[in-house]
């Protein structure tokens, strides 16, 4: 019989690794009372197929828009609904995939929604609503969402600090919009920047030491 030295047990069947502790086994194999039955399906494979299948359809949908022409005249209700559906789909796929790390999933969400809005605005003949409203509002709200989540879920600092930092930096991005006068309506951008600055201050005051510790650890050369 095979033998696991860590567990000091004999193992029936041809196990290269101990079924209990996964350490390599020694000795000769004996017949197993359980036959090896092939998987009827694998959840992991199904999820991977769904993920990459979804991603292909979503990216394909976005790419094909370029060939359909741009401008408000070209942009019918069908395209609006189509883009709406694939964006929803993309957000749902990312939310499921990154569900184990809330801070990370917020960064993904901000990036996805921001980029899709830019692209949509571009397809629609560039009316500027993405920079004026969509991006600053999404960035600002995500920072608030992050502060609330971190507070209510008691996540460890190390697990959210990097992605929180990225979210806040994204929130500072509308400064560029203001400086280069890319926006006609300045209020949303201004509020977003203000929220980001306040969040930065709050984190520095309450979590400053931990933040510096984390940064030192992550930037260690």
């Amino acid at each position: 019989m095979k033998r696991c030295h860590d567990c000091s047990v004999e193992i029936a069947g041809d196990w290269q690794h101990c079924p209990l502790c996964q350490e390599p086994t020694r000795g000769h194999a004996s017949p197993s009372p359980f036959p090896a039955v092939a998987l009827s399906f694998s959840r992991r494979r199904i999820f991977r197929l769904l993920f990459f299948g979804s991603l292909a359809i979503i990216l394909g949908s976005f790419a094909v828009q370029l060939f359909l022409g741009r401008g408000p005249a070209e942009f019918g209700a069908v395209r609006s609904v189509w883009l709406g559906v694939v964006t929803m789909w993309l957000v749902a796929v990312m939310a499921v995939r990154k569900r184990r790390n809330v801070a990370k999933s917020i960064v993904y969400l901000v990036l996805i929604v921001g980029l899709v809005c830019l692209y949509w605005d571009y397809l629609n003949g560039w009316q500027g609503w993405s920079l004026n409203y969509a991006i600053p509002i999404v960035c600002g709200s995500s920072i608030l969402a992050l502060l609330i989540t971190v507070r209510s879920m008691r996540i460890e600092v190390g697990n959210y600090i990097v992605y929180s930092g990225i979210t806040i930096l994204l929130g500072l991005l509308p400064i560029v919009f203001l400086v280069f006068s890319w926006v006609t309506t300045t209020l949303p951008s201004a509020i977003c920047v203000a929220v980001s600055v306040i969040a930065l201050v709050v984190i520095q005051v309450y979590r400053g030491a931990e933040v510096r510790h984390e940064l030192a650890k992550r930037l260690h050369v």
């Binding site: 079924p19 502790c21 009372p33």
Partner: protein, 449 residues
């Protein structure tokens, strides 16, 4: 033309239909190891004989508007090689079929049963008869095999004068014993009726990664029954409670701290036939819940075992069980509930089952030491059983001096089993592990070799 016999599904069995899921098929497996490779042809002959004897096993499950019912059928069972994952689903509402299967693998005879049909004790009677018939045809020269068809039944108290036909579809022991209020009720009045639904403390629950195709993770540990019994006796605890305490300890060691829920709870089925004589192979058991909260006193295995024993004894007394079951039967028989359509009953039961599960960490089941008819005893080695599981489960059974502790779980993780096995080996007990391959990695390893 004779009409087909039918009977409404009994009290305990309904819950198995409602609580059945993709991961927890509510199928259990009993197996007996012989001293040679099983001959499928002879096993089929033995199955045919045994099947004719157990009319209950002819039953198929049908759905009516208000209840499920068992109905007699003309189907015949066929033995098959063990080529499905353990405890694979048996009952399929869209395809009427028998509620059990008989399989073989190397030197094992395997019986799998949908729990709505029978319980462990009932299944053990069937397996005993099956193995006896098999050995009889395998060793025809051996003269002294008496008619053992009643061997297990007679072993039950008060069963000797019952007719064998009692293994019939119609006997619902729950109805027989608990439908009418008992005269002993006054005596039992002070016995506290337990209900895990009323639990106030938050109970620790094991989480993990589900198996790739929802099959049951099953691992068997085999050790000398005497060695483990000595260990339990040295602590002054019964075997079941000692193993339960050890199971708790293994869960504690394999978890990364309990967090806020430091209470572990186990549900343990009690065979009612020992108190309320019955030869019905249908479900006839009740469950008892015991718990232990860590960090509030001595937490060593012996102390936990003794404490569990103190909780278990009064709850598993005939008075307490009778009271609990009379109450359950009364609820089940209440006119209001009887007119609720079956799909709605399923929803209600599923809800109750979900609430009940939240108050439980593990399940423990012990079929005890099995005695087989003398003539076949020498041909049969270890016997084992396990159940599909919604939470980590431990099933214990002993035969031929070998104690088989089977662990099942819906998760791939085996850490608690590792801790359990290591504890036993640390005490100097030799342990053999047998496991069914579950993950892609484990199956790939098998292909390589």
């Amino acid at each position: 033309m004779t009409r087909r016999k039918w009977v409404r599904l009994d009290n305990a069995s309904n819950i198995f239909l409602a609580a059945r899921s993709e991961t927890d098929t509510k199928v259990f497996r009993l197996s007996a190891e012989l001293d040679h490779h099983v001959d499928p042809q002879l096993l089929q002959v033995a199955l045919d004989i045994t099947y004719d004897r157990f009319t209950l096993y002819h039953a198929v499950l049908r759905r009516a508007i208000f209840w499920y019912y068992l109905q007699d059928s003309d189907l015949r069972p066929t033995v098959t090689p063990d080529n499905q994952p353990t405890c694979a689903p048996i009952y399929d509402a869209d395809r009427t079929g028998l509620l059990f299967r008989v399989m073989y693998h190397q030197n094992r005879i395997i019986l799998e049963i949908f729990h709505a049909l029978s319980d462990g004790t009932g299944a053990l009677w069937f397996l005993t008869d099956l193995v006896t018939e098999y050995i009889r045809s395998r060793y025809p020269q051996q003269p002294d095999i008496e008619d053992t068809s009643t061997a297990q039944l007679i072993a039950q108290p008060g069963a000797a004068d019952e007719n064998i036909a009692a293994r019939d579809l119609a006997v619902d022991s729950f109805a027989q014993y608990f439908r009418r209020p008992s005269t002993t009720d006054e005596r039992a009045a002070e016995v506290e009726v337990e209900s895990s639904l009323t639990t106030t403390t938050k109970v620790f629950q094991v989480t993990g990664t589900r198996t790739p195709d929802y099959r049951t993770r099953a691992v068997e540990l085999t050790a000398s029954a005497n060695d483990v019994l000595t260990l339990a006796k040295a602590e002054g605890v019964s075997m079941t409670m000692y193993l339960t305490a050890l199971f708790f300890e293994a869960i504690r060691r394999s978890s990364d701290g309990f967090g806020r829920s430091r209470t572990l709870a186990a549900t343990i089925p009690v065979n009612l036939r020992q108190f309320f004589p019955s030869v019905s192979p249908r479900n006839f058991f009740a469950t008892v819940r015991v718990e232990h909260t860590y960090g509030e006193g001595p937490d060593d295995i012996a102390s936990v075992g003794r404490q569990l024993e103190q909780q278990f004894r009064p709850k598993a007394s005939p008075e307490a069980l009778g009271k609990k079951l009379r109450r359950l039967t009364r609820v089940e028989r209440s006119p209001l509930l009887r007119v609720v359509p079956r799909p709605l009953k399923d929803v209600i039961l599923r809800g109750l089952n979900w609430a009940n599960n939240r108050g439980l960490t593990v399940s423990v089941s012990n079929l005890g030491r099995v005695t087989l008819p003398e003539a076949i005893e020498s041909h049969v080695g270890a016997m084992a059983f396990h159940v599909s599981a919604v939470r980590p489960q431990m099933c214990v059974m002993s035969h031929a001096g070998l104690l088989t502790i089977s662990f099942t779980s819906p998760f791939i993780e085996t850490d608690h089993i590792k801790e359990f096995a290591r504890y036993l080996t640390d005490q100097g007990i030799a342990v053999t592990v047998a496991a069914a391959r579950v993950t892609e990695f484990e199956l790939a390893e098998e292909l390589e070799s």
